[in-house]
């Protein structure tokens, strides 16, 4: 009998939405899209608005000082969570997408010349494709993609050829469809060997496993709060301090300046330089509390538990006739999610029938159209797990899938 490294029942009780509705609580298997929030996070955000609300970095009155203190403490918690050198390397953004766009505009606009290559991969989310396309159109740079192989992993056989002329490698740590965990340290070393930088899309990795930007030896990391128990509207860009210091502003406005005249302005030091306007104060503070919650359980414990859940998920799906699962086979280096198709039914129909059974999965292309072209399917259904899921949720998924095959066969 497997004993999880933390008390799952207690964790589930921390999430109000998992208690509703009483008759049939939801089997929530869509955390790769957005996670649920524990009471501690919801309460922290509400407490900010009830007791501390004021703008940051402006007032000399007590409320504003308190708000600024908590906002900056959240930044420090993020820095510690990903093992950044300093909290100054942590920029609050809206989400992963905005973080990547920030690098594309600021670093990319300054450093890329016509013919320079940006290397992404076939399994990227649109948020790690489109900003680079826009940048390539502006600068004359060229976009190139690492292909994937038959088992849903990056095909690295020709990586040295692919790296020719590359100035930036931008890859996801974990595929949001295949669940593939990519060898980031290897890619970082390869990128640096040709003088390129590496940006990592951590949207699907940071919520689920220990993250150490120094150990991975990467240059930029982008991730979203809402996939790691925090509210929507707050994300993070981490970058090496020396790189950030040399980058021009992304958005202009209040907070990001030193001096302004009608003719010209000088800009604040990082991270303020990249945080124009009033930031998402309550959300960032709540992200700090989400990080406290996650570290209280332990990221290594969460990763270990999710590995068990992921294996169970793949084992169970293999038992349902007509179900095809995409991505690497059961084993290590695979996240606790599965994208699949059912022979007789379209993914939308699959998700709809599952919904009527109280099972929440996502259906569609999951913002990865180039990947679905490579997989040769227009869309898939996806079940993804997080620390609050249990094998019972997966059992309910399987019961629902058997209903799908019965209904549509």
């Amino acid at each position: 009998m497997y004993t999880p490294p933390f008390d799952i029942a207690a964790v589930r009780r921390d999430f109000p939405i998992l208690q509703l509705p009483i008759e049939q609580p939801v089997a929530f298997l869509d955390s790769a899209s957005s996670s649920q929030k524990p009471e501690a996070v919801i309460a922290a955000q509400a407490a900010f608005y009830r007791t501390t609300n004021a703008n940051v970095h402006r007032g000399v009155y007590q409320l504003s000082e308190q708000a600024t203190y908590e906002f900056e403490r959240a930044r420090s918690r993020v820095a510690l969570f990903i093992n950044a050198h300093s909290a100054r390397e942590v920029i609050f953004t809206r989400n992963t997408t905005e973080s990547i766009n920030l690098v594309a505009h600021s670093w990319g606009g300054t450093n890329l010349r016509p013919g320079d290559v940006i290397l992404i991969s076939q399994m990227e989310h649109h948020s790690n494709i489109v900003p680079w396309q826009l940048l390539a159109q502006r600068t004359g740079a060229v976009l190139r993609a690492i292909p994937i192989n038959g088992s849903g992993r990056l095909d690295l056989d020709t990586i040295d050829t692919l790296l020719q002329g590359v100035k930036l490698v931008a890859v996801t740590h974990v595929s949001n469809v295949l669940g593939t965990i990519n060898p980031i340290s290897f890619l970082a070393q390869k990128a640096h060997s040709v003088g390129a930088l590496i940006l990592v899309d951590g949207a699907q990795s940071v919520p689920h496993m220990p993250t150490d930007v120094q150990a991975m030896d990467i240059d930029f990391l982008a991730f979203s709060g809402h996939k790691m128990l925090a509210p929507t509207g707050v994300g993070v860009l981490w970058g090496r301090k020396a790189l950030l210091d040399a980058m021009p502003p992304f958005l202009g406005g209040g907070s990001m300046i030193k001096t302004v005249t009608i003719e010209a302005s000088t800009y604040a030091d990082v991270p303020a330089r990249f945080e124009a306007g009033t930031p998402m104060i309550g959300e960032a503070i709540a992200l700090g509390h989400a990080i406290d919650y996650l570290t209280g359980i332990g990221m290594a414990n969460i990763a270990a538990y999710e590995e068990i859940l992921g294996q169970y998920l793949l084992d169970q799906l293999a038992e349902v006739p007509g179900v095809t699962v995409y991505g690497p086979p059961i084993g290590p280096e695979r996240a606790a999610m599965a994208s699949f198709t059912v022979d007789c039914a379209h993914p939308h129909d699959v998700a709809q029938v599952l919904d009527s059974e109280g099972v929440a999965v996502r259906a569609g292309h999951h913002c990865t159209q180039p990947l679905h072209v490579a997989l040769d399917v227009p869309s898939t259904a996806r079940a993804s797990c997080y620390l609050y899921n249990t094998t019972d949720d997966i059992d309910r998924l399987v019961v629902g899938l058997r209903k799908v095959t019965k209904l549509f066969a």
């Binding site: 379209h346 993914p347 939308h348 709809q352 059974e357 569609g364």
Partner: protein, 134 residues
């Protein structure tokens, strides 16, 4: 589930009416829903201001395919003015699904209507051009 997948929807999904293509045709319009990859091609043959023949082809979810199948039955023999006026409420009544609070599936249900409208308006535009030349 019983609401969403009534026997009628499943029946039209399994055995679609007027499935195929028309050659020649007066209207052929393909629409697709990038969210889920649903694709509908709708072909019309128009005689004396009426839709004389209809065919649809495509791939997608049960809702998009069944709605297209049911719409083709409706369109046969319909005056072009009536086809122009045919709208979202008509489709929802036709397929009998409560999709008002389900924007994602609403797109599926309306895909064939969109193909019909886009194709028909292009046809009407071409007719105007032809009249100018006369």
């Amino acid at each position: 589930m019983s609401d969403m997948y009534r026997d009628l929807i499943l029946e039209h999904h399994r055995y679609p009416h007027n499935y195929g293509t028309l050659d020649p045709h007066d209207v052929s319009q393909e629409e697709h829903n990038p969210l889920c990859g649903d694709r509908i091609r709708l072909d019309l043959r128009i005689v004396d201001g009426k839709i004389a023949e209809v065919a649809f082809s495509g791939k997608g979810c049960a809702v998009s395919q069944a709605a297209a199948s049911m719409l083709t039955d409706e369109l046969i023999g319909m005056e072009l003015d009536a086809a122009r006026a045919y709208n979202k409420a008509d489709i929802l009544e036709l397929i009998g699904l409560p999709l008002d609070k389900n924007p994602v599936r609403l797109k599926c249900a309306l895909l064939s209507l969109k193909a019909m409208k886009v194709g028909l308006y292009r046809y009407l535009g071409q007719q105007l051009d032809a009249e100018e030349l006369d």
